[in-house]
């Protein structure tokens, strides 16, 4: 049952992406409602999967890389629903869908995805809080990366005077610049909470906290530079993409360390 939830949610994200691409090509203006419905269905199914998995493993479902990746894609979707509506960035869904689809496909292709869930005793409140909050922060960083890509695409259109259907559907560049910064800030704040929780977790989580700080520091520097206007919106957009790519690569290491704890 849980596997059916996950596969269907993955298909929902694929459908959301395909429909958004079709809507852009066909120049349909009211595509966001459909996109929203499909993405919401995918999110509900994801939540269902995580709920069932949580019952099976007896703790927050972050016991292997497969679960970590699904939890990460769920975090991205959670923040998409919070932020997408706030900033009216309807097209964020179109860019988020392929990212979430890709993460879930990779997760399901992992050999560990085939293993039956193993019941483990809870590591305790603080380690679980640390892991969950840190992953949600990665969701915010993922969305800042998505908004960064949107900014760079829109900027390219404006500079080159290529005002196609894609351009028409993208939000104003100033709004995207603000979204990149605020999402980065949200991720940074969440990761700070995650790291603090990691300190309370004792030395079982020491190595994980060190890796988390390695992600936290560059984002902190970026935010300070942005706050003091020492870095342009364009550069921050590029760095949001680069920083998330680096953060994603550390996730493998983080999850191995976390699982071993």
């Amino acid at each position: 049952m849980e596997r059916a939830f996950l596969v269907t949610s993955t298909l929902c994200f694929l459908a959301g992406f395909a429909y958004a691409m079709y809507a852009l090509g066909a120049k349909v203006r009211q595509h966001s409602r459909w996109n929203f419905v499909v993405m919401l269905a995918g999110f509900i199914l994801q939540s269902g999967f995580l709920q069932l998995r949580s019952s099976a493993v007896g703790r927050c479902p972050l016991t292997n890389l497969f679960e970590v990746l699904v939890f990460l894609s769920w975090s991205v979707m959670l923040l998409y629903f919070v932020v997408g509506g706030t900033y009216r960035l309807s097209l964020l869904g179109m860019f988020t869908a392929p990212l979430v689809f890709l993460i879930q496909v990779v997760a399901q292709l992992l050999p560990v995805a085939m293993h039956a869930p193993v019941y483990k005793k809870s590591a305790g409140f603080w380690p679980e809080l640390h892991a969950a909050i840190s992953l949600v922060s990665y969701g915010a960083f993922a969305l800042s990366c998505v908004a960064g890509v949107m900014f760079l695409v829109q900027e390219r259109h404006l500079k080159r005077h290529t005002l196609n259907s894609f351009f028409q559907n993208l939000p104003p560049i100033a709004n995207l610049a603000v979204a990149v910064q605020r999402l980065m800030l949200a991720g940074f704040a969440l990761l700070t909470v995650g790291i603090v929780a990691g300190f309370f977790a004792g030395h079982a989580a020491a190595a994980i906290v060190v890796l988390a700080v390695c992600v936290w520091l560059p984002y902190g520097v970026l935010l300070i530079m942005r706050g003091t206007h020492r870095i342009s919106s364009r550069r921050i957009a590029w760095l949001a993409v680069a920083a998330f790519t680096v953060a994603l690569t550390t996730l493998g290491a983080l999850s191995v360390l976390h699982i071993s704890n």
Binding site: K27, V28, R29, Q30, Q154, L158, K159, H161, L163, F167, Q168, L170, P171, P172, I173, A174, N175, A177, H229, S232, S233, R234
Partner: protein, 353 residues
């Protein structure tokens, strides 16, 4: 019951002719009510805008009603409506014409939406004056729904079709809302004035005008409700402006890369939208290479407008297909409902009140 339309438009008559038959907004309801006092005309709506004067009516016999409406126009305007200036459309042709008009397909600028508001106003005036009943109520409600469908399901209203609207569209794609944007006009050309007005109509906060002839700058600034700036001092205001319009008659570039680059570093990453309406150009092309600066010259803006117009022309076929479906449905309803079958099934206009 039959629907008919008698009228003239920018397609059939020059403005000197159209103004002879024009009816003021305040009078359309009253005149519609006068028209239905004639036994040959059951219901009437008069649409009178700068581009068209059209009499829509519902009558038992359209031939007799057309003659009555024609006599009525002659009596009210002092001129007889004659072909080919005036067109006479009966039944499906009249219905189709109204649907095309409200959808903007008959407008001077294809897809413009102002006409929908004007027709709505004309209909409301006629309705308030008691000049409409079942047939025209249904026809106009259906027409408004057709216009909505055409607008939302096609790209007929999409994109900017003039230099001014292209500039506004781009400004909104850069800044979002324009209510915190300050505009500076260099020079005092007519297109610059129109563009500044277009930006102002979308909420631009303040307008600065700078011109070699200071008096001209003062005059334009007064007209726009802005502030005049001496031409040799415009750079002092640079930090405050978001949109810079160039429209001077200078034979060389007034805004150069060397001048703008150092000024941009003081702006704390606020983008700058440069609109070059001058020929020869006021901005060096390399200004567009500066980070955060978006430069569009007159060719680029005209290209955008032409591109949008082309998209709208391509959408005509889709719009016509939609309209044709509604014309068929409405004609069928008109025939059945007035032959005692009461066949209104499936004819309730979407969203009809």
């Amino acid at each position: 019951m039959e629907v008919l339309c008698l009228g003239l438009s920018h397609k059939t008559a020059p403005v000197e002719m159209r103004e002879r038959f024009a009816i003021g907004d305040a009078n359309v309801g009253e005149i519609s009510a006068l028209l239905v006092q004639s036994p040959a005309v059951r219901e009437a709506v008069i649409v009178s805008t700068c581009n068209r004067v059209e009499f829509y009516a519902a009558a038992d016999d359209s031939t007799v009603a057309l003659r009555t409406v024609s006599d009525f126009i002659k009596e009210k305007c002092g001129h007889a409506p004659e072909a080919p200036t005036f067109i006479e459309l009966k039944s499906a042709e009249g219905i189709r014409h109204l649907f095309r008009v409200v959808s903007g397909l008959e407008s001077m600028v294809i897809g413009e939406t102002e006409i929908l508001g004007q027709v709505k106003k004309a209909y409301q005036s006629a309705q308030t004056a008691g000049a409409t009943s079942r047939t025209l109520n249904k026809l106009f409600q259906r027409a408004f729904n057709v216009a909505k469908e055409v607008r939302t399901k096609t790209s007929i209203t999409r994109g900017a079709v003039s230099v001014g609207s292209a500039a506004v569209e781009l400004a909104e794609k850069i800044f979002g809302r324009l209510d915190s944007c300050n505009v500076m006009v260099l020079g005092a050309g007519e297109t610059a004035e129109m563009t500044a007005k277009a930006l102002q109509s979308r909420g631009a906060k303040a307008i600065f005008v700078s011109n070699r002839t200071y008096e001209r700058a003062v005059s334009l600034a007064k007209m726009l409700g802005g502030r005049a700036v001496h031409f040799d001092q415009w750079e002092r205001e640079f930090d405050a402006i978001d949109i810079l319009i160039g429209s001077t008659g200078a034979p060389h570039a007034v805004v150069t890369n060397a001048k703008i680059s150092p000024l941009m570093t003081r702006r704390q990453d606020r983008p700058l939208f440069c609109i070059d309406l001058a020929v020869p150009r006021d901005f060096e092309a390399s200004v567009n290479d500066i980070e955060g600066v978006y430069l569009y010259d007159i060719d680029a803006l005209q290209g955008i407008a032409e591109q949008s117009m082309q998209v709208r022309r391509q959408e005509l076929v889709r719009c016509e297909e939609m309209i044709e479906r509604h014309v068929t449905e409405f004609s069928r309803w008109l025939t059945t409902s007035h032959h005692g079958f009461g066949g209104t099934a499936g004819m309730q206009p979407e969203g009809a009140k």
